[in-house]
């Protein structure tokens, strides 16, 4: 096992597919024992990065070490200590649930009984279907089997590519409870997700878009660095109100956030009362305005706009 405090160290990783720059000079490090999240939309480069980290794709330039092992030179040794759950279901559809688990344990020469404690909570939920072919499982059960197979050799680092995409809010929450238990068992977890709200469940996150990292830090530090003052405004006729707010000289931006509109303004220049009067003058008589706290999604939108401009 590597002696560094880092489970992953990436320096200037780039990868292009023809003219498309999938990753541009990515540098980051993941500490041992943390849950590190890559938060970004489809096409941001998350899958390309994960394939490089799991030795399935060569970077054009840059270096990446996982538990001290080089993803290019030491790929054989590295594969033994990695657990990888790709975004697309990649188990053997014609094998049963238990055959898949035995297969993965066999390849890694792992003892299922010895490591069973790691997957007990997850595998017990699919154990009633142990004789069913993997291809006949529902989406949620496939996901649990894939996670069990990725864990059965007790990897040092677990890499999960969008495990919660297309999954409902309750199942997503349960999945994250499982990840936190695995973290407590000492496994370093790198996870990609397009859901901004999952950022707060990670120890640290990298916000990623168009193959570049927009920010890397704890979720708290990222939201603390939000450069604007935020108000949450509630009113009827939201679209009209957003256009109105955007015309106000002190308003930086206004975006829909569920039942409220988040309005970012230059700090200290304007109060909730000022905004209320402004809206009232323009026909929004019944608005409610409170001081708000920015979330990761506010920060992501702001950073996206900064890099696009």
């Amino acid at each position: 096992m590597g002696t560094s405090e880092y489970a992953i160290e990436c320096a200037s990783i780039s990868k292009s597919y023809g003219k498309v720059k999938a990753l541009q000079e990515l540098s980051f490090s993941v500490k041992k024992g943390e849950i590190f999240g890559f938060i970004g939309p489809d096409g941001a480069g998350k899958t390309t990065l994960f394939r490089i980290l799991t030795t399935l794709l060569l970077p054009d330039t840059g270096t990446a070490l996982v538990d001290g092992l080089d993803v290019v030179k030491d790929y054989k040794a590295l594969r033994r200590i990695l657990g990888y759950m790709p975004g697309r279901f990649s188990l053997y559809q014609d094998l049963t649930v238990e055959e898949n688990l035995q297969f993965f344990a066999g390849i890694f020469q792992a003892d299922i009984r010895e490591n069973y404690y790691l997957i007990r909570d997850i595998y017990e939920q699919i154990a009633p279907f142990a004789k069913r072919k993997a291809g006949k499982l529902s989406g949620g059960m496939k996901q649990k089997l894939a996670l069990s197979c990725a864990l059965i050799h007790k990897p040092v680092v677990l890499v999960l590519d969008e495990p919660t995409t297309g999954v409902d809010a309750v199942s997503r929450r349960e999945f994250w409870e499982m990840l936190i238990r695995l973290k407590n068992d000492g496994i370093t977890i790198v996870v990609a997700t397009p859901y901004m709200d999952e950022a707060t469940l990670c120890d640290r996150v990298a916000l990623i878009q168009h193959g570049r990292i927009l920010a890397t830090d704890t979720p708290q530090a990222i939201t603390n660095a939000f450069p604007w003052q935020l108000f949450e405004v509630k009113s009827t006729d939201t679209l009209n109100m957003i256009n109105l707010l955007k015309q106000h000289p002190e308003v930086h931006n206004a975006d829909m956030f569920g039942e409220t509109v988040h309005v970012s303004v230059k700090p200290g220049r304007i109060s909730a009362d000022d905004l209320f009067s402004y809206l009232q003058e323009h026909g929004h008589l019944q608005s409610e305005i409170i001081q708000g706290n920015p979330g990761i999604e506010d920060c992501f939108i702001d950073l996206m706009r900064m890099t696009n401009e």
Partner: protein, 248 residues
């Protein structure tokens, strides 16, 4: 009840597969021009119900009409009057933007002139007229999803079904997409939408939440939050869906 006011009328919709009841006595009405959020956990039976409403599958029993047509006897009429898009399938990736418009317009029986005019209009609205001859596969997901929606409503359907249209889309595009939904609804198109983003549930006029094949809640977001003593739709959803037995 005034039938003309409703785009979808479903009374006692039941769908069984063998001994499994996927849709257990669903009753709901969707008003014309309404944005109706159709929520539920994975495996709750949403896809089964959507397939029935789109005329692709026959229910076991019930009294169901879509755009004024009976799902048992007039499924082909229904298909002509609805639009559909999903996250997984929307446009043909090997065709250009204009070819996709031509293909779908042709399927819906639009004339060449109508198709040409709609293509210009839709591309103009999205500010991407220059992408007319670009292959879909080479476009970013955000633009593709906005195009897919434009194609789904190019024949001015009475109802458009959107199955997780914003999955994986960046947060700015997600909001632009909802602005398009609002504009479509304002022009009279009824919108029937599923999503796993609970903030988007707040953008719907009314919502139903399915649990284990049944509709457990139906109302405006404000009503549902009040009834379930919840601060957000996420809380409402979790309270209801936690009870589910048929989880995936």
């Amino acid at each position: 009840m005034n039938s003309a006011a409703y785009a979808i009328e479903a009374q006692n919709l039941v769908k069984r597969f063998g001994s499994f009841t996927a849709n257990d006595n669903l009753s709901f009405f969707v008003k014309k021009g309404e944005i109706f959020g159709f929520l539920g956990a994975n495996g709750a039976g949403k896809t089964t119900a959507i397939r029935i409403l789109c005329g692709l599958s026959k229910p076991t029993s019930g009294k169901i009409s879509v755009a004024g047509f009976n799902v048992f006897t007039q499924a082909e009429k229904i298909k002509q009057r609805i639009g559909y898009m999903s996250q997984r399938f929307s446009l043909y990736e090997d065709l250009t933007v204009a070819e996709n418009f031509r293909f779908y317009g042709g399927i819906y029986g639009m004339s060449r002139d109508q198709i040409r005019q709609k293509t210009e209009e839709m591309l103009g609205k999205l500010n991407i007229a220059e992408l007319r001859d670009t292959i879909i596969a080479s476009l970013p997901l955000g633009i593709r999803q906005k195009l897919a929606f434009s194609v789904a409503i190019m024949h001015s359907p009475e109802i458009v079904f959107l199955d997780e249209p914003t999955g994986g889309v960046d947060p700015i595009t997600r909001r632009q997409f909802w602005e398009m939904i609002y504009q479509a609804a304002a022009s009279g198109i009824t919108v029937f939408v599923t999503t796993h983003y609970m903030d988007e549930a707040e953008y719907c006029h009314r919502i139903s939440i399915m649990v284990d094949g049944r509709i457990e809640a139906l109302g405006t977001p404000a009503e549902l939050k009040a009834v379930h003593h919840a601060l957000s739709m996420n809380d409402v959803f979790i309270k209801l869906a936690r009870k589910a037995v048929n989880k995936e």
